[in-house]
Amino acid sequence: MTAWVALVVVVLMLVAAVAVLRLRSFVAAVAATSVVGLGLTVLFVLLQAPDVAMTEAAVGAGLSGVILALALRRLGLWRIEETRGGREDA
């Protein structure tokens, strides 16, 4: 049972990790990074580490996502709409 849950979560994390590198929009990439952190939280619970899971959910997924999102705003990379053509390097 836990193996199946772990399998689903691990596949989700790996897909999100590849998506971080492949997605063109930086907002989506930061969201995918938070997805990796939340999957890590579930795995920590399965590995009998609930305190680490709490910290990872609050700090690793929450605060880290906020920091990266604010950085995107300051760097001018915060573009929601899909840009047609060209690379996103500002």
Binding site: A6, M13, L21, V52, T55, S64, L75, G76
Partner: protein, 167 residues
């Protein structure tokens, strides 16, 4: 052993995250994406450390969980990871601060454009033509200029002769 159980799947996930993060850090051309890849590799490392202390059938190392004397997982790697998560966020904040400074100074985060602009700035500061030293063959590169007023040896100025270096 590798099989269809929790620790094998978590091990594959941890190694996969580390590999994807390291490859992303090397392969990308954008500094922000490099930071995101660093976050992913860090997550994989944390998962690997917690996995080292896992024990099959163990309970969480918390007082009152399970009956006393029951086998529990190793709490030491969990404590280390607890610290590493917070330190990781601190590293991210420092990297974001550096990215902001780079963006303010050069106006870009793309590595190629950044290298070109830094080369142009260095060349302008040194007083040589820009882009003269990167692609030129070895004999055609300009020698680095000696700043005015720098003395070495017995009060002489100018480039240091190669034969006078101490053996």
């Amino acid at each position: 052993m590798i099989g269809f159980n929790l620790e094998s799947i978590a091990l594959i996930g941890a190694l996969g995250l580390i590999v994807i993060g390291a490859l992303g850090m090397v392969a990308t051309n954008h500094l922000m994406r490099m930071l995101l890849a660093l976050v992913i590799a860090e997550a994989g490392g944390n998962l690997l450390i917690v996995l080292v202390g896992y024990r099959v059938g163990g309970v969480a190392p918390i007082l009152g969980v399970g009956e006393p004397g029951a086998a529990m997982v190793d709490p030491i790697p969990q404590v280390l990871v607890l610290t590493a998560i917070v330190i990781g966020v601190g590293v991210q904040a420092l990297a974001v601060a550096l990215l902001l400074r780079i963006h303010r100074a050069y106006g870009t985060l793309d590595l190629r454009a950044l290298r070109d602009r830094m080369d142009a700035e260095v060349a302008a500061a040194a007083g040589v033509a820009p882009d003269a030293s990167q692609e030129a063959p070895l004999g055609a590169r300009p020698l680095p200029p000696v700043p005015v007023g720098v003395t070495h040896g017995a009060g002489r100025t100018g480039p240091l002769p190669a034969l006078e270096r101490r053996a």
